[in-house]
Homo-oligomer: 342 residues x 2
Amino acid sequence: MRVTQQDIARLASVSQATVSRVVAGDARVEDEIRERVLGVMKSHNYRPDVRARSLRQQRTHLVGLVMKRDARDLQGDPFFSMFVSEILDYLSNTPYHLCVDIASSAVSQTNVYDELLRTRRVDGLILVESEPRDNRATRLQADHFPFVLVGNPGEAKHLHSVDNDNVLAGAIATQHLIEQGYRKVGFIAGPSELTVSKDRVEGYCQTVSSAGLRPRIWYSDFGFDAARSVGLQALSSEDRPDSLVVLDDFMAMGVVDAARELRLAVPQSLGIVSFNDTHLCNLVPGGLTSVSLNIREVVRRACGTLLRIVEDRNEEPPSRVVVPCALKVRGSSLRTPEVALA
Amino acid sequence: MRVTQQDIARLASVSQATVSRVVAGDARVEDEIRERVLGVMKSHNYRPDVRARSLRQQRTHLVGLVMKRDARDLQGDPFFSMFVSEILDYLSNTPYHLCVDIASSAVSQTNVYDELLRTRRVDGLILVESEPRDNRATRLQADHFPFVLVGNPGEAKHLHSVDNDNVLAGAIATQHLIEQGYRKVGFIAGPSELTVSKDRVEGYCQTVSSAGLRPRIWYSDFGFDAARSVGLQALSSEDRPDSLVVLDDFMAMGVVDAARELRLAVPQSLGIVSFNDTHLCNLVPGGLTSVSLNIREVVRRACGTLLRIVEDRNEEPPSRVVVPCALKVRGSSLRTPEVALA
DNA sequence: TTGAAAGCGCTACCAA
DNA sequence: TTGGTAGCGCTTTCAA
């Protein structure tokens, strides 16, 4: 059977309350007694039961991550593993653990929300990839539930969020291609409801317009295969773009593959810029130019905020953190490679 | 304040025990009363508190995944995201959730073990990438704690495990290269203590020996960069191998990059075969030949077993499941491409 | 069929 | 400084 504080108390001839104090590191315990209790705890390999503690303290020391995407789309997506491993890295220096869930449909999403939060399974949530009219956030707020949105809160102002300026990111990517001399700059976006996608498209549109160019936009699902087939379609169209901004590295790899199939040389016949700056960028011959969103920093800020508002029971006023992004130029967008070497 | 069964009971003019029965779906409640209680529950948006339930039932409905690797190595590793997303996919049809942790050093590993298990944070564990002398398994067994090892249990027989036959997998990869006419077949392994690595090396050694060839083995850390530099080293050696078996796809990408830098054509001057058959395999021009370990099946069997032994309190006798693996031939190992097209 | 009550293991309050 | 004790919200006997 399991060893409880009651058992330790009996064996050390003290009250259970005293054992609790020793566990909590309370100073008001005589050294001699403390030693005795610690000795018994050690010899019986005692560890407190977090379930009881959670119930009592109204705190589980668990934070939830809800990815809003189909599990199959996540397959091999490096953004996901970067994101998760950065969270784990951050939490490993705290008493918190991570509970991951995934929700694709709106229904399962509400279920996850209910199961995770209303049941008090987790103390707080990290939300990613919100839609503009995201009812999750509204519901969480109504319940005064601690959460941090990684993404653009849009209209919803009174919430904690950490994000890049994705309009800017889209603009940076586009501007770079234009500066490299591309004139038919296209954009392969993600699902059209997503704010990340919308924002980058907006930055893209502003930039091509300013340059007197015409926008060409294609929407694709996430993932290699989806982007690959949309890429094939885009590159087979009559008015073929000479360069593409692609929503993320993984999708960009699909586009690279499409270009390969159509025997379009990158970057000569097709310039490519994407986002996230994951390891994938080094896998393309010559490298894939990508806008680094500094995911590590985004995650650290998000986790930091979340733990703070969890600890102070959501008293802290809503904050919005914008993490700067930066273009990482590699071969896929360099029509003039000698410049890169300079 | 939070709505409890007590509140519902008062509002519905019944006892708290009756509310509990309604929640549990107990048949012994009069229909009229059930309706009334359900009505109050709905109108007050009641959800049971899993913390209290966990304490009472001695069950958290949480399973733990402990990855034994440095968080930074996980960056962008598609194996990780495949593994996790398959688990999430499986669990989404069950009342269980996933708690992920990561441990690099032996110390942090013991901490994770203690924190997760002895504190009863999770009901059971999935262990991956064991070393041969893995004390985690021994400790877990001593405590009669439900867990499933994904990997080779080695000497430790009396535990649940799910695995591929990695000796066979190593042999299949090697045999394929030999059949393709490569004669200096090398192996870039992972950390030498790891059983996966050991087993595949063993299969490799057996196969090259049977073919009258000499083994050439290099050890590398996980990850793209580490494999890349070991690859550079291997391919710069005097007695350069004409082909390489690489421990996983991600590392293989590093080797591909190394080959590119050394201007070695794949597959003409260098044949490559790796393991896992992740999406990365399609990112290499011509494709990367890889041994599919059928991760989805491995995960499903592991989760299935784990939930069974969690539910029956570890009564089920230890089982070992071996999931078959299969070679997926792509361009990186095909010296005679026309054969592939046939 | 229903309610009263015990208790899961812990924290924290109040007395002594 | 220590012990007694009241819950945290729930499930599950045991009586009624």
